[in-house]
């Protein structure tokens, strides 16, 4: 099953002009557990999915209380770049959203 099908919320946004942050929230424990076990939701996995260098993925954070995941990465084109395609960074979640997490 794709991440976007299983998650209740999946969203991307700027955290400042140079960093993209992606939040994922699950409504069910099983979906969250599968996400936690998935190799995609690691710094290495995210880098591969987006096609960026691993060091530009600055963190993958977990919050069990709300079944939430936060992935942060340097923007490949920042909001400061004249050729940025998404000033707010609000629509850059799709490479992760279509990943299979079992």
């Amino acid at each position: 099953m794709q991440l976007a099908e299983r998650a209740a919320v999946i969203r991307s946004k700027n955290a400042g002009p140079f960093v993209l942050t992606i939040d994922v929230f699950f409504d069910d424990d099983e979906g969250y557990a599968r996400a936690k076990a998935s190799p995609v939701l690691t710094r290495e996995g995210v880098a591969e999915v987006y096609g960026v260098a691993e060091h530009s993925v600055t963190g993958v954070h977990w919050n069990d209380m709300v079944r939430g995941i936060k992935i942060s990465m340097l923007r490949w084109k920042s909001a400061s770049d004249p050729y940025c395609s998404d000033i707010f960074g609000a629509h850059l979640h799709t490479p992760l959203a279509v990943c299979e997490i079992g």
Binding site: G51, M65, G68, P82
Partner: protein, 475 residues
């Protein structure tokens, strides 16, 4: 849940650059039934990119109309308000908003006394700070920001603002009868000011600021056009939704601590780090009670933002519906980009860095660009946007016109549509967009004194006039 004795501050919050949503007037009344000590609304941010800061122009938000119902309530109930105005929040943006606000006060028949705090630092101040040895370093490495702010960047940047902390606001509260208006400010600082003045710990005040800063966005459903309310006490705070259709849940509260942050638990602020690793959120009868934040003191620094002009953008748009061309649309567009770059006419400008070109193809790679895994158009149509940024408008438009003509008329392999290659929807075919800016300053300025660089003046509304007060020098 909350302490029954001790200081208590009840805050009604909304976002002032968004038009208030349905039911906000009833919601304001409801909040005042619970009790309100201060109305706080932020309206600045870097989210809208460097354009506003660089150009000095203001987004077309009617901030006066947005605050009307809230200021009316504040005046009727004799409680202060604290607003940050102007998105980019430098002097011209603040002035524009204050002009509108002045008009609002006149139309409503109010006589207000407000402390105005400007966030823009003068170039003299920055030059002196740097010359005196202040090390002003980027907030983030590896993104092309200069390693240490120097005279060159200060000179090239049009406006530099600081995200002022709660301290200048605390110094201003109580000095003017109706409240405080600032330019660019740290969002949570606006909310921290009154609780801290009443003796509530910084950790609690900052945690409350974080949950309240985007108004109803922290409620369920998320909607920043709705208000939010909290009662802040020594140990924590209870959040409620004044509009019954927008209510806090544990998930909406914690979800908001994620919003626009790179780390969900740790956040650096002027003078300290807010640590929410052990924060607790408990559903109560009327809302959610939040506690458990920690504040770890660090040397005081404010974040600075500044933008500089990089050129002028002109675009041209073409629609492609023919499947044969769609099958080679990226190669076709890349070829035209190369024609522009290698032409006699533009080669020198390209090599000199005063002209850049890109084609964005919606229907193929407009959103993800080079990261798009799909290399072929899978639909039946695409839009090709030729995007030119050059040092001045004349050059940008000339290159865009040249590119349009090449896109529209040049032969490509196997072409059958020899009367014109694509659909041109607009005349003029070249659309001048705007000056283009980049963030030249996103740096941290150490401050021994968080108040003096940001003086307040008490102003009467209506009757306000923009007077350029002399800006503080760096002592």
């Amino acid at each position: 849940m909350s302490s029954s004795t001790g200081p208590r501050v009840r805050i009604l919050s909304f976002v002032n650059h968004a038009a208030p949503g349905n039911g906000h007037e009833e919601a304001i009344e409801r909040a005042f039934e619970w009790g309100v000590d201060v109305i706080v609304a932020q309206g600045t941010g870097s989210d809208w990119g460097p354009y506003w800061l660089g150009s000095g122009t203001q987004v077309a938000a009617n901030q006066a109309a947005n605050v009307r119902a809230y200021v009316r309530a504040a005046v009727e109930h004799d409680v202060p308000f604290i607003f940050s105005f102007g998105i980019a929040g430098a002097d011209p943006h603040l002035d524009e908003c204050l002009t509108q606000f002045d008009g609002l006060c006149k139309a409503e028949g109010w006589q207000l006394e407000v402390a105005v705090i400007r966030s823009e630092l003068s170039k003299e101040y920055l030059r002196e700070a740097v010359a005196a040895g202040a090390r002003v370093t980027p907030v983030i490495d590896g993104v092309g920001l200069v390693a240490e702010l120097g005279q060159a960047e200060i000179d090239a940047t049009s406006h530099v603002v600081a995200l002022i902390g709660p301290e200048p606001i605390m110094a201003a509260l109580g000095k003017a009868r109706n409240g405080v208006i600032t330019g660019r400010a740290l969002d949570i600082g606006l909310f921290m000011a009154l609780p801290m003045m009443r003796g509530i710990p910084t950790a609690v005040a900052a945690h409350a600021g974080k949950l309240l800063e985007c108004g109803g966005f922290a409620l369920s459903p998320n909607d920043s056009s709705q208000p939010i309310w909290a009662e802040v006490t020594m140990d924590g705070f209870e959040v409620r939704g004044p509009n019954p259709n927008y209510q806090p849940t544990v998930r909406s509260m914690v979800g908001h601590t994620f919003y626009e942050r790179s780390n969900p638990f740790i956040e650096e602020n002027p003078g300290g780090v807010l640590d929410l690793t052990e924060a607790t959120y408990t559903q109560t009868e009327q809302g959610v009670y939040c506690a458990g934040a920690k504040w770890i003191e660090t040397p005081y620094q404010v974040m600075l933002e500044g933008a500089r002009r990089v050129g002028f953008r002109a675009i041209s748009v073409l629609g492609v519906r023919d499947s044969f061309l769609l099958g080679q649309v990226r190669a076709w567009s890349d070829n035209i980009e190369n024609m522009i770059r290698t032409s006699d006419r533009f080669r020198d400008a390209v090599e000199g860095g005063t002209l850049t070109v890109q084609t964005r193809i919606y229907g193929l790679d407009g959103v993800l660009g080079e990261l798009e895994p799909n290399k072929d158009v899978t639909g039946h149509e695409a839009a090709v946007i030729l995007d030119v940024v050059a040092q001045d408008r004349r050059l940008a438009e000339e290159a865009a016109y040249f590119g349009f003509m090449r896109l529209f008329t040049s032969p490509y392999p196997g072409r059958k549509t020899t009367a014109g290659n694509a659909a041109a929807p607009f005349m003029p075919v070249v659309i001048p967009v705007s000056d283009v800016y980049e963030f030249s300053v996103q740096h941290l300025l150490p401050l021994a004194d968080p108040i003096t660089p940001f003086p307040m003046t008490v102003q009467a509304f209506p009757g306000w006039q923009s007077v350029q007060e002399e800006k503080p020098r760096c002592s």
